[in-house]
Every structure is written in C-alpha cells, then in structure tokens.
C-alpha cells in the first residue's frame, strides 16, 4: 500500500478492498477523508516497527 494514489487520485482497488474487508464502505461513502486518514495512520505506525520474525526467540 503506498497511499499515494489515495492522496492524489482517489483510492485504488487495493485500498477499496481493504475498506470493504473492514466493513467500512458506508463510512467511507460518508467520511472518505477520515477513512483514508485512518489507513495512512495505520501504515505510518506499522512502518515505525522494525521488520521482525515472530518465530525468533
């Protein structure tokens, strides 16, 4: 997910798929900017974590 297309041209199919999977189609129709902000927020926080193997001990 780049988020770039969402910022400039509206969400791409991948992002719409995430929104549908979360059951947020209605919310997206009413508050598109907020849903996209939430998507970006999740990506930003995820990216702050280092790549890491859950299996390592």
């Amino acid at each position: 997910m780049t988020g770039k297309s969402a910022d400039t041209q509206g969400p791409d199919e991948f992002l719409l798929g995430l929104i549908r999977a979360a059951g947020l189609e209605k919310t997206f129709a009413e508050y598109p900017a907020d849903v996209l902000a939430a998507l970006r927020g999740a990506a930003q926080e995820r990216d702050k974590m280092p790549a890491h193997s859950v299996e390592s001990r």
């Binding site: 059951g23 999740a42 926080e45």
Partner: protein
C-alpha cells in the same frame, strides 16, 4: 494558613486532624472557586455539588466524632468522565454515550468512597480518551490555567486543568499513551502512570487492555502517593490486575539521593525526536539537580522512541478496534472527527502487525529491565515541547507525537511526570522519572525529593 483552594490533600488531612478546617468549609471554598473559574477552564463535564455537599457533611460528622477513615477522608476529588460513578452518566465526552448512566462505581471509585473521599463530579476528557482536543464533541475542551488559549494536555484534560487551577487537590486520570502524564506536563502538576496492573481498570471505559492504566494526579508527588494508596490493590475482575501486596506509598517519601544511580535517556529528545530548546535545558537542570543532591547520573540507551510509539499505537489500535467497530460502521457521524480517524486505524492493522508489535514489546520491556540492572531510576523527557495553542489544529497535530510517554505504556514500568521549569512564554516544562516494575514507591520518592529540591511544583498559574 494557605488559601484553602491551594491546600494539598496532605495539608487538608492534617488540618482536619487538628480541627482547623472542616470538610464543609473546604468544599464551600472550592465550589466558589469552581463557579468563578470553570466557565473559562471547562474542567468539569458535570459538577455534582449537592451530592458532594452531602458527602462533606457526612465526612464532617464522622471526622469530628473521631471516626476517621484515613487521610483521604473528606478530601474532594474529581473523576475523569470515562470512570463509572453510580448514578451519573459516563459520557466519555461522546454523543454516543450521553445517556450511559452508570449503575455501579468503578473499582477505584468504590475504593475512594470507602476511604471517605468526596466525589465532586466528572471531568473533561478527549472523546473515549483518544479523540481530542476537539470542538465537535458534546462538551468543550478544557483550557490550560497557565494560559487558557493553550492546550492543557490530554486526554485527562479536566483532571490536569482543575488541579492546576486549584479547583480540587486530586483527580483520577487514565493513561494509554500519556493521558495522565501529558496533562500533568502541560499544567505543571504531578501525574503517575503506575506499574501496569497495580490499579484496577474495572468500570473504566477501555481503549486497549494491555496498555490502559489508571493513574493518580495531584499538585505534588506526596499527594499522588496518598491517592495511589487509596486506589492500588488487586481486583479479580480486571484480568490485568496484579496482586503485588504493595501499599503505604505515602508513608515515607524520604530518599537519600547519595548513591542513587540515575540513567538519563538523552537520545529520546536529542536524536529520536528534537526537543524544544527550553525543554532540553530544563532536562539538563533536572539531571544537575539529582547530581547536586548526590546521585550518579549516567547516559542510558534504550530502543528508539519512534519504535516505542509505533508498537504502542499498533497494539492500541488493534485492541480498541473491536470495541468500536460496529458503531464506526453504522454511526460514524456520531463520533468526533479525531476519534473517527484514530479509532478506525485499527481496522487496517493485521494479526501479523499485532503479533509483531507484541513480540517487539517483550524485547523492549527486556531492554528497559536490563537498564535497571545498572541504574535505579531513569530520567527522560516528558513532553518535548510546551503546550501549544488549543485552536491551532496544525500545531496540535505537529506536536501530538512530541513526547516520551508511550515507551512505558509499552513496557508497563511506573513513570511520573513532574514540573521542571517554566518557559519564557509562561508555560510549564516537565521531566519524567521511571522505576523498575512494582517500584512505584521508588519513583514517587525520587519525584518527591526532586520537588522539594526545586519547588517548581509550588508555582501557581496566573489564572489563580
């Protein structure tokens, strides 16, 4: 005697014991001050003056009949409006919860009642302790007593603003990413995020069950310890509660700093994020104060601050999403915009994200525990900048993450924010002290000794 509204809880208890003050007399003075100042501070969502007066009269009868329930007997306290108080709505400052009248007290509120504390009412908060400060909520955001144009910190905003303004000496807050320590920092008071599990969260609206903490707030470490004594203790109804057996936090707050090993975590505010120069100078002064008092101050390196923040928010976002998912799908318009955005981020986090965050969390906790093998307490930044103007949304967003609170929500270690100076613009500066898990008494002793060495905490805001 000090003006009644500036008395600390400890001083109030002593005055009651000496029959120099009565609970009704004190409450009347505080209600008058609330009537005068709260219209511009908005600390209260709901003031329950009649109920408080009934409780004050009862406390007066009991105390003067020699039946003291302890040092909080007859002491007024404010409660953040995400805690259940039987008979009152727990609104969480949300349109969704305005009719949510509590049928029983939160565990900590019940403990406070048993201790004889006087519940004044419900205090301002970000919506669900996450969305704010915001002007699209049922109740207006509290204002900072040091300058009402500025943010008092959040989400326990009313707790911080009311204590700093002398509306009440004590308050309860909650802290899932700094929500006790931020208002403590911004309002120039003392706020503790206790060890995870030391204080029950039963009856408190949840955000994230592995990072939520209930915390005491006051104008001094001594009063914070007194309040912690009343609320700490095992609660089998809270799955995160620990049976630590700790008590007596306020019994003896003396600490000989000679030989105390202080680990100064400089990289949080010098490298990971850049602190405001005045904050940086204040932190160096705190370190110098500890050194002057005989402590050994050395530099300690922990995992990067941004990584802590990411882990905290991935865990919080994942854990809070199920609580709000249905309402965000069907009634999103009933949330304020900030809550809507922040709560929905959890919808876009995966099980893989959550498990990676929890795995990294255990490593981070181990890293902090390892640091406590070579030092006794940690000194870090609290807020990395003085509070900004509350109506400047751009600045609020820019400064939202300029803080060093999330590391200890991630690790669960006890962390206290103390006042450490005043900026040139007249706003409080702060520092954070951290101790090993279940050494809450140590971090409060260190905070108490620091406060007595500098007396920043005794300054009062101009709104007074």
């Amino acid at each position: 005697m000090t003006e009644l509204h500036w008395l600390t809880a400890s001083e109030i208890a002593a005055a009651y014991a000496a029959r120099k003050l009565s609970p009704v007399e004190l409450l009347e003075a505080l209600l008058a001050r609330i009537a005068k100042l709260d219209p511009k501070l908005n600390a209260f969502i709901r003031l329950d003056a009649d109920f408080a007066m009934d409780a004050a009269r009862l406390a007066e009868r009991e105390l003067f009949a020699g039946r003291s329930r302890g040092r909080l007997h007859g002491v007024p306290i404010g409660i953040k409006d995400i805690f259940d108080v039987a008979g009152l709505p727990t609104t969480c400052n949300s349109k969704l919860m305005l009719d949510n009248v509590a049928t029983r007290d939160a565990h900590v509120v019940a403990r406070l009642r048993a201790a004889g504390a006087i519940i004044l009412g419900k205090l301002g908060t970000h919506e669900f302790a996450i969305g704010g400060p915001s002007f699209d909520l049922p109740f207006p955001p509290p204002r900072n007593p040091w300058n009402p144009d500025h943010h008092p910190g959040g989400s326990s905003s009313g707790s911080g603003a009311g204590i700093a303004a002398g509306l009440f000496p004590l308050a309860l807050g909650s802290d899932s990413g700094g929500s006790v320590r931020h208002p403590a920092s911004a309002c120039g008071i003392t706020g503790l995020k206790p060890t995870y599990g030391l204080v029950s969260r039963t009856g408190v609206a949840p955000l994230s069950f592995t990072v939520d903490h209930v915390g005491p707030m006051a104008r001094s470490a001594e009063d914070v310890a007194l309040l912690l004594d009343a609320i700490a203790g095992h609660d089998p109804r809270d799955p995160g509660s620990v049976a630590s057996g700790q008590h007596g936090f306020g019994d003896d707050l003396s600490l000989d700093l000679r030989g105390l090993r202080v680990g100064f975590v400089r990289h949080f505010h010098e490298q990971d994020l850049t602190a405001d120069p005045e904050v940086l100078a204040a932190l160096e002064q705190v370190a110098a104060t500890f050194a002057t008092e005989g402590a050994t101050v050395s530099t300690i390196v922990l995992p990067p601050l941004n990584e802590f923040a990411g882990v905290c928010r991935v865990i919080l976002g994942s854990e809070v999403w199920p609580t709000h998912a249905e309402r965000l799908r069907s009634r999103a318009g009933d949330y304020g915009q900030l809550s809507r955005q922040r709560l929905m981020s959890g919808a876009f986090l995966s099980a893989d994200d959550y498990l990676r965050a929890q795995k990294r969390r255990s490593e981070m906790k181990a890293a902090v525990d390892e640091a406590f093998g070579v030092v006794d307490i940690l000194l870090t930044a609290s807020a990395l900048a003085p509070p900004c103007r509350i109506e400047d949304a751009e600045m609020l967003a820019a400064t939202h993450q300029l803080q060093a609170w999330t590391p200890f929500n991630v690790t669960g270690h006890p962390a206290v924010s103390v006042m450490a100076g005043v900026s040139k613009s007249g706003l409080p500066l702060s520092a954070q002290l951290v101790a090993p898990a279940l050494r809450d008494s140590l971090v409060l002793k260190a905070a108490n000794v620091y406060e007595r060495s500098t007396e920043w905490h005794s300054l009062r805001p101009p709104v007074a």
